[in-house]
């Protein structure tokens, strides 16, 4: 039996890297006395899979992990409470759901992520204001191709960002708030900063280092007809 856990990450704990978040949950699950399944052998490991890793420094409303449970009828409400009790304030469990037998695991099924992006207070002066940014987004949406030079440690190549963006818009707020849903599958994906760099580039502005306050809002899998389904809604 597998359950899917949705959790949030805010505040100081956003500086904790992905591997350490995994280690954190291994201990948190023990503190909460959740009846997790283990692999065999001399040093048994918890049966646990995480969805796409969150970059250091980012916050999130929608992180996911699937864990195995040695219980045919787990009390998901009790597990949620126990985990929250055993967790630090910056990491909260939002939901615990039972995964259907045929559901893909959290890592394999991630297709897209939704982000909310604002500028940090001390960098605002060097970033475009709301109107300007709105205009840039319109420009981007109306152009056919948006070629971005993607550089990783191993490769560097040109990609068309439009193939990876499913939604991009300004929120109706006083301060500039950008929302985007982009591909984050394990095979081929982009990062929110690519889109922001591209936008600023259109206005010849260089994005200052560490200017973006990024919150991942949710992660999605792809339904039969190509629709996006929140990973949370896969569970029951």
């Amino acid at each position: 039996m597998k359950i899917r856990i949705r959790f949030t990450k805010h505040g100081a704990v956003r500086y904790i890297g992905h591997l350490d978040v995994m280690r954190y949950f291994q201990k948190c699950i023990r503190r909460a006395h959740v009846n997790v399944s283990y692999t065999g052998g001399y040093s048994p490991h918890q049966v646990m899979t995480f969805a796409s890793p969150l970059g250091v420094g980012m916050e999130s409303e929608g992180e996911y992990m699937d864990i195995g449970i040695d219980d045919e009828h787990p009390d998901t409400g009790a597990i949620l409470n126990a985990l929250n009790e055993a967790s630090v304030p910056g990491i909260r469990i939002r939901s615990v759901k039972i995964l259907p037998e045929d559901a893909g695991n959290a890592m394999a099924s991630v297709y897209a992520s939704e982000y909310e992006i604002t500028f940090f207070e001390d960098k605002k002066a060097d970033c475009p204001d709301k109107d300007k940014l709105s205009g840039l987004i319109d420009m981007m949406l109306s152009s056919e191709k948006c070629i971005y030079h993607k550089e990783t440690k191993k490769t560097s190549r040109d990609i068309d960002l439009k193939e990876f963006i499913y939604d991009l818009r300004m929120e109706d707020t006083e301060e500039p708030v950008v929302r985007m849903t982009i591909n984050s599958s394990s095979s081929d994906s982009i990062k929110p900063v690519f889109v922001m760099e591209y936008l600023m580039n259109l206005a010849d502005i260089k994005l200052p280092d560490n200017a973006l306050k990024i919150i991942r809002l949710d992660m999605f899998t792809q339904g039969e007809n190509g629709e996006l389904i929140s990973l949370e809604d896969v569970g029951i």
Binding site: R14, K27, C28, G41, D122, D209
Partner: protein
């Protein structure tokens, strides 16, 4: 302060390696309202977070202090060199992890001093905190800087940097010190007045009120207090009953992987053996055990509160813990249920320990460890290491028949009275173990591969309060020659291909000796090294030997005097004013016995009257007295 309540800005946290070192907020870390406490105490381990967080002593004191309603205890560690550089450039003061406020705002800064090579990091901590490095320059605005830990048994080289040293085990006197502090603060007394009164508490030493004088040859002539009412001798503090004291039931759980990424259970303090090179064996006498009942109760609470998947037992010599079988029986059963791994401390290899290892570890992955420390029986008698060649070979034979193929051997080079034959004995011994394997295991039965033996040697550093405190240390050249003799000895063995040899760096060993047996004059050297940019000297990639050699030169001091010289029997040592229970007369007798290759029995086989019985604790009252 950033929006997350952190002291460092997002820009800085995103630009340093492992920002998790600086954010606090760990599970079980203690947050209090600063307005609700009377004393803010910051505990410091002057090395990087992952090292400092692994230290049990701080966890014990952190738990103790925070159990006091009127005290908030926080932690701080050395910023790594990347952040160190930024803090200097941008004039950012050092801050504590819990409150994320400057260290300088605290009432006390307690620094645990576990090894000599961290001395420059102590200056880093003070400097970055904006606290004057020398006690005499501090004002009412500065925290009281207090040092503890094994290096404070010769505090003289760092005496100038501390207001108080706490000599001995921390559990006993802090409450008294804090009460005194609160009372004198209420009475509006000065820092100086407080320090004088603090110096009257047993175990506490306030260095600025003591003065040394020297003979023409540079040795110590006299050492005494210059303020009325302070004791001539400072006696170490000892916890008499380890079942009736503090132990952290909820240790802080770091996010990043630390050196000790597990529950650490201290089963006893002290050691019954009297290895003549070993300082810890003398400092922590008499040996005191915790009861199985208390330990089990504690360990399960710790596992529950931390979620650790591993537990390890800690002590100087766990095989000597009298109730080890009983403790392990219970622990193994319960940990299997909880899916918790047990890592064993280095146990003496025999039928019992191999059986236990077989139960808790994967034979293919783990190795069997021996620490004979010397290659020949003659030299093992000199150092009083009660381990014979027969013990080793029968242990290794049992391990081989149990299926183990990886063996580790630890030795020290440069012991007093060592000659080349003793060194050649190292290769001999390793070869004998390899030969055992090839005789015992036929070719077609070598399922785990052939035997692999790792021999590691470190260099001997004479330490205060050991039988060898009078002994000369080898020069760097002599050390390196010895390592070559050892390597050659190994390479001439029949089974040399199965033996892998590595040795520790010689440069740091002589500097360690300088700092271990130094006097107050050495403080100037440490300060100079720090001013030349020296920090993290305990890290081989950061250590620069030239800095120390230059600084010694500039101060007109030399290693000939501090490291390579044999001391006269009646020389007054800088640390003689500290009373650890074990008498100087006993240690001198041990040094003479070492020269003759005579052994001394361990405390359990018979008390040899070392002097620690004065504490009336642990093994001493019931020990068999030889006539």
């Amino acid at each position: 302060m950033s929006s997350d309540g952190l002291f460092l800005s997002n820009d800085i946290l995103m630009s340093v390696e492992k920002p998790e070192r600086y954010i606090g907020n760990e599970v079980n870390s203690c947050i209090k309202d600063p307005d609700s406490v009377r004393v803010r105490f910051i505990m410091c381990f002057p090395d990087v977070y992952e090292i400092g967080m692994s230290h049990l002593g701080i966890q014990i004191l952190y738990d103790m202090f925070n159990s006091f309603d009127d005290v908030w205890c926080e932690r701080v560690y050395s910023p790594w060199i990347d952040l160190d550089k930024i803090m200097r450039e941008k004039h950012i003061p050092l801050f504590s992890l819990e409150s994320q406020r400057p260290v300088k705002e605290a009432d006390f800064l307690g620094i645990t001093i576990q090894y000599e090579m961290c001395y420059t990091n102590i200056l880093q901590i003070l400097d970055l905190s904006g606290i004057p490095m020398e006690s005499k320059d501090r004002t009412e605005e500065d925290p009281i800087v207090i040092g503890g830990g094994p290096c404070t048994y010769n505090p003289e080289p760092i005496a100038d940097f501390f207001d108080i040293f706490y000599i001995g085990e921390g559990e006993t006197r802090y409450r008294e010190l804090l009460d005194l502090y609160e009372k004198m603060k209420d009475e509006g007394k000065t820092r100086e007045e407080f320090l004088i009164e603090a110096g009257k508490i047993n175990g506490l030493y306030v260095p600025r009120f003591y003065e040394p004088s020297y003979n023409d040859d540079g040795t110590l002539k006299d050492f005494r207090p210059v303020v009325d009412g302070l004791p001539l001798k400072v006696r170490k503090e000892v916890v008499k009953d380890l079942d009736d004291t503090y132990y952290p039931k909820k240790p802080v759980v770091p996010y990043i992987r630390c050196i000790q990424d597990r529950v650490v259970l201290e089963i006893m303090r002290g050691c019954i053996r009297g290895c003549r090179f070993c300082q810890a064996g003398e400092l922590y006498r008499p040996v005191r055990e915790r009861s199985v009942e208390k330990l089990l109760d504690t360990v399960y609470q710790m596992l529950d509160s931390t979620g650790y998947e591993e537990v390890s037992l800690s002590s100087l010599s766990s095989s000597d813990y009298t109730h080890l079988p009983e403790l392990l029986d219970n622990l193994i059963v319960e940990c299997e249920k909880r899916k918790v791994n047990i890592t064993l401390p280095s146990l003496r290899i025999d039928a019992f320990s191999l059986d236990v290892m077989n139960k808790v570890e994967d034979i293919k992955k783990t190795s069997v460890t021996f620490a004979p420390e010397a290659g020949s029986q003659r030299l093992r008698n000199v150092i009083n290491k009660g381990l014979t060649e027969e013990d080793i070979l029968s242990g290794s034979a049992q391990a081989i028949s149990g299926g183990w193929t990886k063996f580790k051997f630890y030795f020290m080079l440069g012991h007093p009275f060592e000659n080349d034959d003793d060194i050649l004995g190292i290769g001999d011994l390793a070869n004998k173990v390899a030969a055992e394997f090839f005789e015992m295991v036929p070719r077609d039965k070598r399922v785990n591969g052939p035997i692999s033996i790792t021999v590691s040697t470190s260099f001997f550093v004479p330490k205060p309060f050991t039988a060898f405190q009078w002994a000369p240390q080898c020069t760097t050249d002599e050390f390196i020659r010895k390592a070559y003799v050892c390597r050659k000895g190994i390479s001439e063995q029949l089974n040399q291909k199965r033996i892998h040899y590595n040795w520790h760096d010689a440069d740091t060993s002589v500097i360690e000796a300088l700092l271990a047996r130094g006097d107050r004059k050495v403080a100037a050297v440490i300060k100079k090294v720090y001013e030349k940019g020296g920090i993290y000297d305990a890290w081989s990639d950061q250590y620069k030997h030239e800095r120390w050699i230059e600084a010694l030169d500039e101060c007109g001091l030399g290693l000939d005097f501090y490291a390579f010289r044999e001391r006269k029997d009646d020389e007054l040592f800088p640390w003689d004013f500290i009373d650890i229970g074990v008498s100087k007369a006993f240690l001198l007798k041990e040094y003479k016995k070492a020269a003759r290759g005579e052994i001394t029995s361990n405390c359990r086989a018979g008390c040899s009257g070392c002097g620690a019985a004065a504490f009336g604790a642990g093994i001493c009252p019931g020990a068999y007295k030889k006539t």
